[in-house]
């Protein structure tokens, strides 16, 4: 780990002021479950680390006129045990509990879940966010890519690592981002961008902006669920996730939102599958068909063909799980 200056601000304004306009100069520390590993591996070598866990306004979950505001430093455990979240957003609770390490749930934050860096082993070994050799050739495409994308966006073949993002996108959540010029809002799906070079970042954040809150619209009457395919019960990264949110009229789906995680550099909205459900009563057969449709257009690499099946299964099971909920 490279030596660094440690800052412990108590307001967002101070924190933002301590960041740099250039990437790489300073890093934001929340739970630290990802940042510390990145620093130990010299993947991140910030000159300054700005701890935001001491900023009160970044904590807490509050009901607002437009739904629920979740502070960026709320831990995954706080999220999963919060009564308001549990009553309306089961898909979010399921997604948080998919982080099967109690230690990470206790330390890791919702903001950190969205801002963590990809788990791509080429990235983690120093070959850049795109995992390229020194000639700019992808190491992922011809290499060991079993945990990588089936919906790649060349030159990016890694998968977005967030556990919460698919559920948040399906629920129509937005994030608040604060920088030197004040705050702005962005839908969660717009938070993720695809880098074109190894110098680019994968988040629509400037280097001196902080993700400060997540704002969830009300989900009363919206059936929602997350199904995560993961090999282990103990700490393990998801192989594929599907989150669904269904607006219902009686037993008929009026509109559906289906979002896939861990299959592309950003969460993938399964539009064909969504369209297939609109105006129909959800049955197990329809759920299976929607699963198949969700995998349409997949472009598996040498090691990722199995994820096509995982998408089918995850979507089907998330839909069936949502169906079980009382309206």
């Amino acid at each position: 780990m490279q030596a660094f200056e440690y800052a412990n601000p108590t307001t967002v304004k101070d924190a933002v002021g301590m960041l740099s306009a250039q990437w790489g100069e300073a890093d934001v520390l929340a739970g630290g479950t990802d940042l510390l590993s990145l620093m130990k591996e010299y993947t991140h070598t910030p000159k300054r680390v700005v701890n935001i866990k001491g900023i009160k306004e970044l904590g807490g979950i509050q009901k607002t006129s437009s739904g629920l505001r979740i502070g960026a430093v709320v831990t995954l455990d706080e999220l999963a045990t919060n009564a308001a979240v549990r009553s309306e957003y089961p898909s979010l609770v399921q997604a948080a509990l998919g982080v099967t390490s109690p230690q990470i749930r206790n330390m890791g934050t919702v903001g950190g879940d969205l801002c963590q860096r990809p788990r791509c082993w080429y990235f983690r070994q120093g070959f850049g966010i795109l995992g390229q050799d020194k000639n700019g050739k992808s190491l992922v495409q011809t290499g060991e890519n079993r945990f990588h994308a089936i919906f790649p966006q060349a030159p990016a073949f890694y998968v977005n690592p967030s556990s919460l993002a698919p559920a948040l996108i399906a629920l129509g959540a937005r994030v608040t981002i604060t920088g030197p010029n004040g705050s702005r809002e962005l839908s969660v799906e717009k938070l993720f961008v695809v880098p074109k070079t190894n110098k680019d970042r994968e988040l629509a954040l400037a280097a001196n902006e902080i993700l400060t809150a997540i704002n969830l619209p009300p989900a009363k009457g919206i059936k929602n669920a997350t199904y995560e395919v993961r090999q282990k019960q103990a700490l393990d990264w998801p192989l594929t996730t599907a989150s669904v949110a269904l607006k219902m009229k009686g037993s008929t789906v009026t509109s559906a939102s289906i979002v896939l995680g861990h299959v592309g550099p950003a969460p993938v909205q399964a539009k064909q599958a969504e369209a297939m459900l609109a105006g129909k009563a959800l049955t197990p057969d329809l759920a299976a068909d929607a699963g198949k449709a969700a995998a349409n257009g997949a472009q598996p690499m040498s090691g990722t063909a199995y994820k096509v099946q995982l998408v089918r299964t995850a979507v089907k099971r998330a839909l069936l799980e949502a169906m079980k909920q009382r309206a």
Binding site: M1, Y122, G143, Q231, L310
Partner: protein, 714 residues
């Protein structure tokens, strides 16, 4: 002369009882200090510069900037300019400094000019390894071609098991201090007695000048016998730093890359059989790697060693990976998996219950094991509900969750190693036994205490067991399941001889002679006559000022009937596979294991439990992932080098095969045997569940789904 024979099974008071491990409280409360926890006054930290390349020549190396960094006390170049490195993470230089951070910063200041050379890091496809293939020749027994031709059925399959890495939770390393003409060493080792001489020969100091101490070890599994490069270089750094102690423990990535690699094994296997399941021929083409030394042939056909017609072709493959190290049952889990998987495939082809097929072919096992296997197959079947749960290949039930059962076998030696014990009975009645051995976490401290207490007629807590220091009498390294036989036998002999000396002092007061006395229930009495007795404490007072002390040895060439070798075991796995996700879930694992006389059934069961968990990891999760393009290990951490957690292991049922006839054989080691058959059992259970063989372990969702997909498209 004392009688060393083990007391009759039914008369034992301390041996054979289920004591919890004596150091359990220390370990579970964190009071136990491992050598990697050591912080000695003035101690220096260290960091390695390791190779980022799998194969390269070092054109030049410049350590001057590192040496100048404030806080750096010494730098050692391990691979000099002009020499080659042969695997990623190979040690190139080691830096000692006043803090770990400074040592790491200094490493980054070392300038190395590498000439990158071609590498081969993958061996799963033998056709792609070029001249790295080193054929080991063909072995033919009988007439396999004729037998294949005449067979009722021939079953063919391809099976693979990758390189695994030991992943010890306490990494390899030591604190060492080279002061004056002597070295103090606090290592993490399976070899307290032997590591000093091993280090000494590399330092050119007399072996007697290396003092070794280790109370606890956080995992070794066969990978921690030698002083290793870190031991030698770390100790030299201490000398170069004015004799200050230097701590060198590998970081996680280096630990996984270079401090333990179990060789892989791949094989195409053909088995011929009669309709009734009797195997008539075996033909295998196998290959393996364990780094640049290649990889030897696993002992196949395993357990069924006497199949009459056999052809074996093996190729060692040299790869640019970390060097192989012994792993709990070297080459046996691989051999058991290859063999038992091929047998299960044969049973499926014959439409036969594999339990029946295994039993039928037990005739090919070494004669001494046949009856045991038959007994154990029956017991394991009973405990796993085999007759109710087993079905023909492919669970035909509705829904995506398919359940299946599979069998794996083991065999191992496990004779006691050379061990010396000094037992001392003090005039105050206290008892000490000292051995230059080590407790790998298996309970050696506890069972040594039980043997001593049994021999002296005392409760377990009356005996103080001292291990982990090379000032105690020598014992061999703990490897190959040799410890329990060795230390129990030497302890038995030493304590019996010390007791004899006490008897001689006590006999006159009981109007008897030493040979007519016995120590029972905290008293010394005339054999069979409790009315002529003296309490232990009173008896020991008669020693005056001189303790009664004796040294006893286990001589592996003449173990006096106290220990022996040769065990068998059967494991049955019961799994559920989600065929829509490829995720395999353990329902239950049954392990039936004999190991002769069992000193402590609880600790023995605990050994087997650990071994079953290890098998779950090996069967479902563990794999060193190598990258062709970069030559690197892609998962040298514990996120993608996957290990099971509590929720992943299912229900484990251990049945120690404790029977009079096994007990009579004496003590036999248990470390390796239960680690052997589990991978085979789980892989076979998955094939039974989903109806198709997944050729290579670990049985990860991608592999399981690929096998199902291949069958669908076939």
């Amino acid at each position: 002369m004392a009688n060393y024979n083990w007391p009759e099974m039914k008369t034992r008071a301390v041996m054979g009882k289920r004591y919890t491990r004596q150091d359990g409280l220390e370990k579970s409360t964190g009071r136990a200090k491992y050598n990697s926890d050591l912080n000695k006054p003035g101690m220096l930290q260290s960091a390695f510069l390791t190779s980022p390349y799998a194969h390269a020549k070092i054109r030049s190396i410049d350590t001057s900037a590192a040496e100048k960094l404030a806080g750096v006390t010494a730098v050692r170049v391990i691979v000099a300019a002009g020499a080659e490195v042969n695997y990623q993470s190979q040690e190139i230089a080691l830096v000692a400094a006043t803090s770990e951070q400074i040592a790491r910063d200094a490493v980054r200041l070392i300038k190395v000019d590498f000439e990158v050379l071609p590498h081969v890091v993958k061996e799963d496809d033998l056709s792609k390894v070029g001249n790295r293939a080193k054929p080991a020749g063909e072995q033919v027994t009988g007439d396999p071609d004729k037998a294949m031709k005449e067979a009722d059925v021939v079953s063919e399959g391809m099976y693979g098991i990758p390189v695994l890495t030991h992943c010890c939770l306490e990494p390899h390393g030591q604190v060492s201090e080279w002061k004056g003409d002597g070295v103090n060493l606090w290592p993490s080792t399976q070899n307290v007695t032997g590591i000093g001489p091993d280090l000494a020969k590399n330092l050119e100091v007399p072996a007697t000048q290396v003092k070794v101490h280790m109370d606890y070890i956080g995992g070794g599994f066969g990978s921690k016998f030698a002083s290793d490069r870190w031991g030698v270089e770390g100790t030299k750094l201490s000398k170069a730093s004015g004799g200050r102690p230097v701590k060198v423990f590998l970081d996680r990535a280096t630990e996984l890359n270079i401090a333990g690699n179990r060789p892989s094994a791949f094989a195409k296997i053909k088995i011929a059989a009669k309709k009734d399941g009797t195997i008539t021929a075996w033909d295998s083409v196998s290959w393996a790697t364990g780094g640049m030394t290649g990889g030897g042939m696993p002992p196949i056909p395993y357990a069924f060693t006497n199949i009459p017609n056999r052809r074996l072709n093996h190729t060692a493959v040299q790869t640019n990976g970390g060097p192989l190290r012994a792993w709990r049952a070297p080459n046996h889990p691989q051999a058991s998996f290859l063999t038992c998987a091929a047998l299960e495939d044969l049973a499926s082809k014959l439409g036969m219950d594999p339990l029946e097929l295994f039993a039928k072919n037990v005739q090919y096992a070494p004669e001494a094991r046949r009856e045991t296997y038959l007994h154990q197959l029956k017991k394991a079947a009973e405990l796993s509900d085999w007759s109710k749960r087993w079905h023909r290949r492919g669970d035909s039930g509705a829904g995506p969750i398919k359940r299946g059962m599979g069998i794996g076998l083991c065999t191992w030696g496990g004779a006691g190693h050379a061990s010396t014990c000094k037992a001392t009975i003090h005039p105050d009645g206290s008892v000490e036994v000292e051995l230059g051995s080590q407790d790998l976490g298996t309970g050696t401290r506890t069972i040594v205490g039980q043997v001593a207490a049994e021999t002296l007629g005392l409760p377990l807590e009356a005996v103080k067991v001292k291990l982990g220091d090379n000032s105690y009498p020598p014992s061999n390294a703990s490897g190959g399941s040799t410890t329990v036989g060795g230390v129990s036998s030497s302890t038995r002999i030493a304590t019996a001889d010390a007791l004899d000396k006490l008897f001689a002092k006590v006999a006159p007061s009981l109007n008897s002679t030493a040979d007519k006395l016995e120590a029972v229930g905290g008293k010394i009495q005339v054999k069979g006559d409790a009315s002529k007795s003296i309490q232990w404490a009173a008896a020991c007072k008669k020693l005056g000022v001189e303790s009664a002390s004796a040294t006893g040895s286990n001589d592996p060439r003449n173990p006096k009937g106290l220990n022996t070798q040769g065990v068998a075991g059967v494991q049955i796995a019961d799994v559920s596979v989600d065929v829509e996700t490829g995720v395999v879930k353990m329902n239950k694992m049954v392990a039936v294991q004999d190991c002769g006389l069992v000193v402590n059934p609880r600790l023995a069961e605990s050994q087997v439990l650990g071994a079953c968990i290890m098998s779950v990891c090996g069967a479902l999760m563990e794999e060193r992932v190598m990258d062709n393009a970069t030559g690197r290990v892609l998962n040298p951490e514990m996120e993608f080098y996957k290990l099971a957690g509590i929720g992943d292991i299912g229900d484990i049922v251990v049945h120690m095969d404790i029977r009079e006839e096994n007990d009579k054989r004496g003590i036999i080691g248990l470390g390796e045997p239960p680690t052997i058959g589990g991978i085979a059992a789980i892989a076979n259970a998955v094939a039974n569940a989903i109806g198709v063989r997944v050729p290579s372990v670990p049985l990860t969702p991608d592999r399981v789904l690929a096998a199902l997909e291949e069958r669908r498209s076939a």
